[in-house]
Subunit: 349 residues, 2 copies
Amino acid sequence: MRCLPPWALAERALTEDSLVAALRAIVEAPALATGLPSRIRLGIGDDAAVWQPSRSHLSVVTTDALVDGVHFLGDAMAARSVGERAMAANLSDIAAMGARPVLATVALGVAPGTGEAWILECYRGLAGTAARFDAYIVGGDIVRTPALTLAITVVGEVSPSRLKRRDGGRPGDVLAVTGPLGASRAGLELTRRSLPVAAAVEAEARAAFERPEPRVPEGRYLGASVHVRAMMDSSDGLSTDLARLARASGCGAALAHVPIHPAARAVAAAAGDVARDYALDGGEDFELIVAVAPRAFGHLAGRFESRFGKPLIAIGRLEAEPGLRLIETEDGPSRELIAAGWDHLSSSR
Amino acid sequence: MRCLPPWALAERALTEDSLVAALRAIVEAPALATGLPSRIRLGIGDDAAVWQPSRSHLSVVTTDALVDGVHFLGDAMAARSVGERAMAANLSDIAAMGARPVLATVALGVAPGTGEAWILECYRGLAGTAARFDAYIVGGDIVRTPALTLAITVVGEVSPSRLKRRDGGRPGDVLAVTGPLGASRAGLELTRRSLPVAAAVEAEARAAFERPEPRVPEGRYLGASVHVRAMMDSSDGLSTDLARLARASGCGAALAHVPIHPAARAVAAAAGDVARDYALDGGEDFELIVAVAPRAFGHLAGRFESRFGKPLIAIGRLEAEPGLRLIETEDGPSRELIAAGWDHLSSSR
């Protein structure tokens, strides 16, 4: 989220992708001579890491940290919503691997002024959201911090044949998302200022922001299809995450259709904003992005809609040419699109 | 660590054990009707949680958070040491289960003024310490925080027959530790003030504080013995952790011998402190505490000493009567001992 002006870093602007590259070199250094242990199947760079505890099983693990004032608004949100959002963000990363969540650990940093009642209510949100997806909080740590902080780790499991990474896409694959985007950003706008929108719109946008729904069943379903070649979630914004999926797959992407959530349209109109920007760059929607073998897309999308009662929405294609292009209309010219979603360290937004 | 005055909490003093009990009730509520899923074998309350990904394997997971100014001194410690200590604390929890570490995730909160060089050097400490014990950092998150924060999760594995919990002790079991205690506390004293001690003592105490050694091989070795009935680490101080092991096992404990590290003796003498308090209450030593079937202790201790070149030090016995008693001499009177180690939230120390 971009709720507060970001802090300045001392030496120079860090961006998450460049720092991650440097950290990746460090953590992989010990294995340079011998290679990663064979049980570790996937390290830094996807939604979750993967290891193999036994021949028939893969485990996946993801960690997300959230800080008051940066990723959520402790003053403006109910404690339970803070917990629900934090857990949903992690479950979304598990869903993006095609896995199902098993357990979670929570490192809670308690700020001055945070009372026991707040902590317990936040945990009710964490535990309730986990339980809805058959996952349980099994442990963690509680420490004192200047700002309320939640660092959550979720472990999931998946059979080796169903694991989906972000690097399996090929040129020509159909890109699709599991739902329209921008509602979470619309909900954030409504926590910042009063806007003249219908009560139903306000409720929908706020729910998307405060209680986002991780697409765990959808991820399991899509993970079971051999025609889904790459998958990730859209938590940092479609423009940023689509660029990541394309780059990881050695491709570029042409985006022909940006599906905008109706609540995002209504709130953006009331705010004088461009609704498409909410959908492209807003982030925190937790819809899944998939790259699907082109000949299989129609059949898969039909089955998906029968199963979930909502469409698997085609948004474009992977292409051989690198970069991310937005095609304004089906026949019109294309333009380069700047990835403008959420970078956890950059101050550019 | 007790480096800075703790922050006050708003509503009332929280203690970790009481808050954990309340949180445990919340996270277990969803499973009250159906019970925990059978794959989850051990939840909140031990050094690590345990689940069973397949019939022959157990996985263990632990999460620890460290905050600058509370758990380490970012200004007074090298970035690499901060990373080494943080990783060691988590590996120690895995060791305490009899397991071996496999992978780690790191949630890093970057404070204003933290440069990229610091972050990279901290990661070198994290990754190097993990690699020494055949574990690898596979992912994590980087966020902005007001104070530098590290939340680390380590996953390990253990065969079902070797898993050690803290609740398996029985009255009469011999209590023992894998090494003398108090050196980490002595090192902390030396970072706070200049004391007239020999250079060798200073080096040893500082190393114990800055680069504590998780007892991973010792934990694996002791985990393999059926005569070791309970195990945990001494990270929060012997008085606190021994009381926890005894209580979890439905016992009390009589402590007949407090093994004091020579560096703790020397630093305490120079500081005018009581060396035994460093060993009893200092914490962060990461020695393992075990409860061993009494008839097997002599043989096990002999084999341990052959294997590791250091004694498995008997410190007392589990007893049927609850509470923690310190026996001043073998023949002298006993007195009640107050658990005065590290409570992560209490301000009592």
